[in-house]
């Protein structure tokens, strides 16, 4: 089951400058696992040290935000597109 993972521009430098890659995965979690196995440098930008998806990392299956589906357990099927989309936050002081 090949799904296409879209890598956001700021992370392409850690993925051989590629904008997307195909992985065999039955869930979103599995797709991200395969992605970071292939491109190890992506891991710390996508996951916290305890292995949770960072809060500003958003994942869509086709056009659906996985937060409103089954999160990382969201199933993927052949031909699906998994997009990693940044959200941006900051502020002047802690």
């Amino acid at each position: 089951m090949a799904v296409k993972v879209i890598i956001p521009t700021p992370l392409r430098v850690y993925a051989g400058k590629r904008g997307s890659t195909d992985v065999a995965a039955g869930t979103v979690g599995e797709a991200l696992e395969k992605l970071t196995a292939e491109f190890g440098d992506l891991k710390k930008h996508l996951f916290t040290e305890d292995g949770k998806l960072r809060s500003f990392v958003n994942v869509y299956v086709n056009d659906e935000d996985i937060r409103y589906l089954a999160k990382e357990q969201t199933p993927t099927k052949d031909g699906d597109t998994v997009s990693i989309v940044p959200s941006i936050a900051g502020g002047c002081c802690w």
Partner: protein, 178 residues
């Protein structure tokens, strides 16, 4: 040419990011307009490989956004993933990319905070304008190091593209304020 501080991220000296005087002024004006709240927006631009394999980043457009942090707009800003997608579409329509983000620091220096660092993405230019008592002051730009531990400063070159000459350097170099 700005020397990027190297705090273990293995970053090398980087070329400056260029912006036109009009766009630099628009960022300042946005910061003044939303004061005492933080403003935010996307930086649209392109990267070009010039001689010596140097990559030059140019900001040629802005996509101002609404700060989604209604609960704490004086010291936080937030751009949702939907906003990011909108900004990316706007960039693509102009054959550009989202090369970074700007925001203001009302009554605080134009230096990234620890909160900025924790939420930052690599590669993007993070432009910060400090706004003191409603008046825009310093404007700086930063990039997160590969190891996520520190930001490196990036010189902003305000350049009128029609004249093709740099008029002003607004570089800064400092560590994250903690």
């Amino acid at each position: 040419m700005a020397s990027r501080e190297n705090f273990g991220g293995g970053m090398e000296i980087s070329a400056p990011v260029t912006i036109t005087p009009e766009l630099a002024e628009k960022i300042r004006a946005h910061g003044a307009e939303t004061y005492p709240h933080e403003c935010c927006g996307a930086l649209l631009g392109r990267e070009e490989l010039v001689q010596d394999q140097k990559i030059v980043r140019e900001i040629v457009g802005l996509y101002p956004l609404v700060n989604r942090r209604d609960d704490s707009p004086r010291n936080r800003f937030s751009v949702t993933s939907e906003d990011v997608r909108e900004a990316e579409k706007a960039a693509t329509a102009r054959d550009l990319e989202v090369v970074g983000w700007y925001h203001s620091h009302p009554d605080h220096p134009a230096r990234p905070s620890e909160f900025d660092r924790e939420h930052a993405w690599p590669w993007y230019s993070y432009v910060i304008v400090s706004v003191a008592n409603g008046r825009p002051e310093d404007m700086t730009s930063w990039r997160l190091n590969d190891d996520r531990e520190e930001f490196s400063s990036e010189t902003i070159e305000v350049r009128d593209l029609r004249k093709g000459a740099a008029s002003k350097g607004l570089g800064n170099s400092a560590r994250t304020t903690r």
